[in-house]
């Protein structure tokens, strides 16, 4: 029985935190946020992340990685969230997971080594314009030759990615009757994607590797509320791509679950930092002759937030563990973790703005980095509504 971070994981968290304080603090984040046209991908940060080994966490030892799991990756994700760190770390880790789990040995060899060493930027394109996360939201269609047509939206760091893992529907089922992706409730009306080609093939779903600079690929930056990342739209017209041979609807669901856990971990970090920074400010800020943090209305709300953030941290830890170990309750655990992290981060970042008063509403103050990053991630890899409905399917509909 052990349910806590290990000493090593705590040390890793401490290392990441110290690194960020030293090499990429909020002033550096601000420079990225303010440089709206910039690629949002500071080269020296990326190099350092590679050197630290933080990209190789989930890369198997045979490809030069550390061979650890999401349990360790979530430690880094949390600290990156707490530091509102820009850059394609999470998307690269996620794309790597897809290649590792359903790619061919050759694909794994080609991608994972460089990826772990920080020599390769990767991302995932899973959702069409206006679509939801899940099979019904895909707006890319593959033909039998592996050419892709359609569109993807809100793709993080597509403009700097060497490799993009694209989810596409396929004309004929590649595998047995596809199980529905986890994050996609059956009761939801299917969102009909518009623009690009319709990806709603009636067959299966596949994951495809798209390389940088290929034919038929157009990447256009999309304006985003969150300056700590960069988003882009992908338009594909007969773009040649290579299928990850083991991929199917279940692989997409698995990828979405992993994405949800990394996003939840980031959110837990955002939430914890928002809370800690608010406590620090309200301990100093004096009104009515006393620190505002001594007012019970404020203190009690912050106490509730501490409980919520603590629960989110636990839930992320458990979901990562459950996925690593392939536990039967992993699906449920992910839905719990993402909805709890969504709530904790949404509430904590809103409270951060409120309990800083006027300064919290300014561009000059750092509050909006946390608030906006949370806004984006709350909706990433399934919003609360989607995960709660999935949870209802797993619990309400299964009680005997």
């Amino acid at each position: 029985m052990y349910f806590a971070l290990t000493d090593e994981q705590r040390a890793l968290a401490e290392t990441v935190r110290a690194f960020l304080a030293d090499r990429f603090d909020l002033r550096a984040v601000r420079a990225v946020v303010d440089d709206e046209r910039g690629d949002g991908h500071p080269a020296d940060l990326w190099r350092a992340i590679g050197e630290q080994g933080w990209l190789s966490v989930c890369v198997p030892p045979e490809h030069g990685g550390l061979g650890l799991g999401l349990l360790d990756a979530q430690v880094i994700a949390r600290e990156f969230g707490a530091g509102v760190v820009p850059g394609p770390w999470a998307t690269t880790v996620l794309a790597g997971a897809a290649v590792r789990r359903v790619g061919s040995p050759e694909q794994a060899a080609a991608v994972l080594g460089p990826l772990g060493a920080g020599e390769l930027v990767a991302t995932v394109a899973l959702r069409g314009p206006g679509g939801r996360f899940g099979r019904s939201g895909i707006a890319v269609r593959a033909d039998a030759a592996g050419r892709l047509d359609g569109a993807a939206s809100g793709v993080e760091y597509a403009h700097v990615a060497d490799v993009i893992v694209v989810a596409a529907t396929e004309p004929v089922a590649a595998t047995e009757p596809a199980t529905e992706p986890a994050t996609e409730p059956a009761t939801e009306p299917v969102a009909v994607p518009t623009g690009g080609g319709s990806g709603r093939g009636d067959g299966g779903v596949g994951l495809y590797l798209l390389e940088r600079g290929g034919d038929g690929v157009r990447i256009e930056r999309q304006a985003s509320i969150d300056g700590t990342t960069r988003l882009a739209a992908l338009t594909l017209t007969g773009a040649p791509a290579v299928r990850l041979p083991g991929s199917d609807a279940a692989a997409l669901a698995d990828l979405l679950r992993r994405g949800a856990v990394l996003a939840a971990a980031d959110l837990a970090g955002v939430a914890r930092a928002a809370l800690t920074r608010t406590v620090a400010y309200d301990t100093e800020r004096v009104q009515f002759g006393r620190p505002v943090g001594s007012f019970q209305a404020l203190a009690h709300h912050l106490a509730d937030l501490h409980v919520a953030v603590t629960m989110a941290e636990h839930a992320v830890l458990y979901a990562a563990h459950a996925l690593d170990e392939g536990r039967p309750d992993a699906d449920l655990a992910v839905a719990v973790a993402k909805s709890k992290a969504n709530q904790a981060a949404g509430d904590a970042t809103a409270a951060m703005v409120q309990y800083h008063g006027g300064i919290g509403y300014t561009w000059e103050h750092d509050t909006h980095f946390f608030y906006k990053r949370a806004k984006r991630l709350v909706a990433a890899f399934g919003d609360s509504r989607q995960h709660l409905e999935h949870l209802a399917r797993l619990t309400v509909d299964t009680v005997g």
Binding site: M1, Y2, F3, A4, T6, D7, E8, Q9, L12, T15, Q52, G53, W54, V57, L66, G67, L68, L71, D72, T187, L275, V279, D282, T283, R290, P291, G293, S294, F295, Q296, A299, H300, L302, A303, D304, H306, V307, T310, M311, A312, H314, A315, L317, Y318, H321, L332, A333, A335, V336, S339, K340, R385, H387, L388, E389, L391, A392, T395, V396, V399
Partner: protein
């Protein structure tokens, strides 16, 4: 990043219990299966039995369990305990819930008083108190709260004046659980005349059958009278019945309250999962399990229950690793009490227009769930109210400046 690879498979999240704990579980489960009458496991059973009869059944059943060796699970053997681990204790509590065993009638003694006696009691107190408590020969009450001292315990006024080697105690306690059934009560008494707040207090063990002790039951919102008032008029209490030293009552009380450890969270999770499943069955029976808004609400409650489970496992880990829990018991209390209460708010919501009925349809009896729903209103009040817990978290965990 060096040396983070796990080799032994031990040093990371692992929710399995050690083999000896699992053996214990199997043994206990077998005993429970053989020793709980089938009728008792019907959800509505306890609501059909009169209060007196229910109490007697529970007391005697718990006594038999103790005689069979399933009590004091994590207590040292020298005190009649089993010498087990915190994990075994958690398993014990959880298996009882799972088997729908009756709830303990001596939990205030077992959870709070016994470990305090083990820690600071005299040899005579240890011999006198622990065995009879374990066998339910003596039922213990907790007499802390008074009409003017609830959350603010240090405002208590019950006083004891030394007369020879006896205290003469006068005062009133209130909200005393099982007041009408208790044999002895551990009380906080002001034993230094003129003292105030935390000073001059003593923890006295009082015989509730002694002259001058008068008990009046109080009916609760659920209709039952599980707690009551205790009036103390010139009650003579031997000075040897002071636990933890005369004048040292505050420290002793804080020690006593610290024994509300988090292992309980695991069994609470088991209990709330039963409630969740029953509530879902009610939603189905009333044709409301497809309502998208209710589904969201139920799922949201489930998220909180799962989080309680994680918190309980986390606390158990910290206990087993011998780490200081700090104020995390306040986090646990807030999480469990609010998750539990919230679940029953959703229960009310899904009943819709049927909320006021105990039997909305011929084959749906909600009496037991309704009793439980009332009970959930109390869990954010006793054991340190939610407001008190939030203050503890704000000041001791977050380090916010103290309020005025």
């Amino acid at each position: 990043m060096a040396g983070t690879r796990r080799q032994d498979g031990l040093d990371h999240v692992d929710l399995s219990y050690p083999p000896e704990a699992e053996e214990f579980r199997a043994e206990l489960r077998a005993w429970l299966t053989a020793n709980i009458p089938a009728a008792w496991t019907e959800p509505g059973f306890w609501a059909t039995v009169g209060e007196d009869e229910a109490f007697d059944l529970r007391r005697d059943w718990e006594r038999r369990k103790a005689l069979a060796g399933f009590a004091g699970i994590d207590w040292p053997v020298e005190y009649g305990g089993r010498g087990g681990t915190p994990a075994m204790r958690a398993i014990h509590d959880s298996e009882l819930v799972r088997a729908r065993a009756p709830r303990s009638v001596n939990s205030l003694g077992l959870v709070f008083l016994a470990p305090t006696v083990m820690a600071v009691g005299t040899p005579e107190q240890k011999a006198d108190i622990i065995g009879p408590m374990l066998r339910n020969e003596v039922i213990w009450c907790q007499g802390f709260s008074e009409p003017d001292a609830g959350s603010d315990l240090a405002a208590l006024r019950t006083r004891g004046v030394l007369d020879g080697d006896e205290f003469v105690v006068n005062g009133q306690k209130v909200w005393t659980t099982f007041a009408g059934r208790g044999d002895r009560i551990f009380t906080m008494v002001r034993t230094e005349p003129g003292s105030s707040r935390h000073r001059g207090l003593s923890l006295l063990l009082i015989d509730m059958h002694a002259p001058g002790v008068e008990v009046r039951p109080i009916r609760q919102m659920s209709g039952v009278s599980e707690f009551g008032e205790v009036f103390l008029t010139d009650v003579r209490v031997p000075a040897s019945q002071c636990l933890g030293g005369i004048g040292n009552g505050w420290a002793t009380a804080m020690l006593l309250l610290s024994f509300e450890r988090g292992a309980a969270g695991i069994s609470q999770y088991t209990a709330y999962r039963q409630a969740y499943d029953e509530i879902v069955r009610v939603a189905r029976a009333l044709g409301r399990a497809g309502d998208p808004v209710l589904r969201q609400e139920l799922a949201r409650r489930r998220v909180e229950l799962e989080c309680l489970h994680y918190q309980a496992m986390h606390v158990l880990t910290e206990v087993e690793q011998g780490r200081d829990l700090g104020a995390s018991s306040s986090v646990t209390k807030l999480q469990w009490s609010q998750a539990y209460q919230g679940l029953f708010e959703t229960f009310d919501e899904l009943l819709g227009a049927d909320v006021a009925l105990l039997r909305p349809t011929a084959d749906l009896d909600l009496t037991a769930l309704r009793q439980e729903s009332f009970w959930t209103r109390s869990v954010t009040i006793w054991g340190g109210s939610s407001q008190v817990q939030r203050t503890i978290v704000a000041e001791r965990v977050l380090g916010l400046p103290r309020g005025s």
